[in-house]
Symmetry: C2
């Protein structure tokens, strides 16, 4: 039975995430009303997932619910912000209640885990598209801009890169089997909130890897007006990607494929020891991969010569 918008919101999207003390009013009026902690700044981001562009038609709705929130929380993590609230603008071709229930389940599980309250949004009819906005807070001195990397600082990467890209490659090739662990990296990326918390106050600059490692580090370097040298041998790869690269010699996949949502950050040499202590308790590695230098651009050591030129992140309309 088709439901009116208000019924759908009530049934599936009211009560997602914890009821935060700082939420004066969530879903149910023309706006949400929110209270910021004293001395904290507000951080805002928005990201859209469109069918057939960001995900294939028929994708698992629970994973879409997870991913649509995860990519936004990843932006908050990249800036050192604690996630607080989200809004959701959902465009659906029709009312499919099992789809909605599964989507809400995926969204909700991640929202609970990181204590994000869904405080508003709308549901409209149209081609499937999911637009999420996330709001977080941070003390001014803990915010991680991409523009503040300094000379001789060390460059770190969380987790492993290239997994989502390899999963997508396997999924597009019907002759390839895509292992579930790899597929989960594409469908259910984990925003690096804990890592962001650990490096806050120590890291100097940070970005999340959504367009691809080379492209995103490139954005950070450009914004900071510096360059970098990265050692290919230090790039953290999962066993799947290591095997793929060994067999194919396709170095560019881990360096250029997007959707990993790991963090890439810089740290001054004199804070490196403290940083290593801080990140030790994380359930994933933080790997030093290179160093900031003066010469603009991004260079790789221990990589086949000429490959630098081929490195290019994914960009819409490019």
């Amino acid at each position: 039975m088709p439901l009116a918008e208000f019924g759908l919101i009530d049934r599936y999207f009211r009560g997602i995430g914890p009821a935060l003390d700082s939420t004066v009013l969530g879903v149910g009026d023309d706006c949400a009303v929110l209270r910021l902690p004293a001395d904290q700044l507000l951080l805002v981001t928005t990201d859209t997932l469109v069918e057939n562009i960001h995900f294939l038609a028929g994708s698992d709705p629970e994973s879409l619910g997870h991913k649509s929130l995860a990519v936004n929380l990843s932006d908050l993590a990249a800036m050192g912000a604690a996630p607080k609230w989200a809004t959701l603008a959902l465009t659906l071709p029709d009312v499919n209640e099992p789809w909605l229930a599964a989507f809400a389940r995926g969204f909700s599980a991640l929202a609970e885990r990181y204590r994000v309250q869904l405080v508003g949004g709308d549901i409209t009819q149209g081609p499937l598209s999911i637009c999420v906005q996330a709001l977080g807070t941070a003390a001014a001195e803990r915010i991680l801009y991409r523009s503040s990397a300094g000379l001789d600082e060390r460059i770190y990467v969380t987790g492993t890169i290239g997994d989502a890209g390899l999963a997508l490659k396997y999924l597009k090739d019907s002759e390839q089997h895509c292992p579930k662990t790899l597929r989960d990296r594409l469908d259910r990326p984990e925003p690096r909130i804990e890592a962001s918390r650990s490096i806050g106050g120590l890291a100097s600059a940070c970005i999340d890897i959504s367009d691809g490692f080379a492209a995103d580090l490139g954005h950070l370097l450009k914004a900071s007006n510096v360059g970098a040298t990265v050692d290919w041998n230090l790039i953290p790869l999962s066993p799947h990607v290591r095997r793929y690269v060994d067999q194919s010699n396709d170095f560019s996949l881990p360096l250029c494929a997007g959707d990993d949502y790991e963090l890439c950050f810089t740290v001054p040499a004199q804070r490196e020891e403290e940083l290593i202590r801080q990140v030790q308790s994380l359930p994933f590695p933080c790997q030093r991969v290179g160093k900031i230098d003066r010469r603009p651009g991004l260079r790789f050591e221990n990589l086949a010569p000429g490959l630098d030129l081929l490195l290019k992140g994914y960009e819409h309309f490019s």
Copy 2:
């Protein structure tokens, strides 16, 4: 020439709206960083316009730029908030630079007028859809909830209602000419920010008329757990709509058609005089149309009997 996303954002969407002192960082990093005035709460809303649902294919892009921001500012106005910032998630089938330039012009002109800074967003490829999020601030005591209308309070409406609905009716009927003033009411609604400012601290409850007068007043009544009696003879109609109703006897158009973005608010009797003084300087009327009473539901005086039952606002998927 197709442009990459970063180029498009730089070319069309950087520098929209004034550079506010309270904006620590706007477009250009993973999140915008914003500072709230001390002792103010944050109000957040989001609304999406989808092609062929909210607007016809081939609609004037400058008007779409205006309207996509206006409908969100209207939500802030309905809550008594001062608009501050917006984010824009734009989904486009392809890169059409004249379209983008016109869209940005419409968005920008309204943003300048109400001093709203565009601080973030994304551009993705897909079926045309525009998702805007607006952020505003208000002192707690000036926020207008829809749930706080009290018994015997007076119900007011700004401007005139039914104009957007009549415009849409004329546009869908190729034999009818739609006068420009009427069409502008549909394509370029004016968020009632000044009215919201004037009634703040005096009005008790408020909602904006997006779904239709009867539906939206109905939401307010339900949220406030009261009913109301409205006098049809007091409903403010433009000459166009007055003539249409006189000729067609279609009372339901002004009462049920959406997209007017006027405000409907309540005021206690003892504050009515002050309210009338406050709204006198507005460039549009504020008309008393009825009174809150105890019996749940919305009743009309001086309207053909039985018509109440036909009144129903527009709802997606209904």
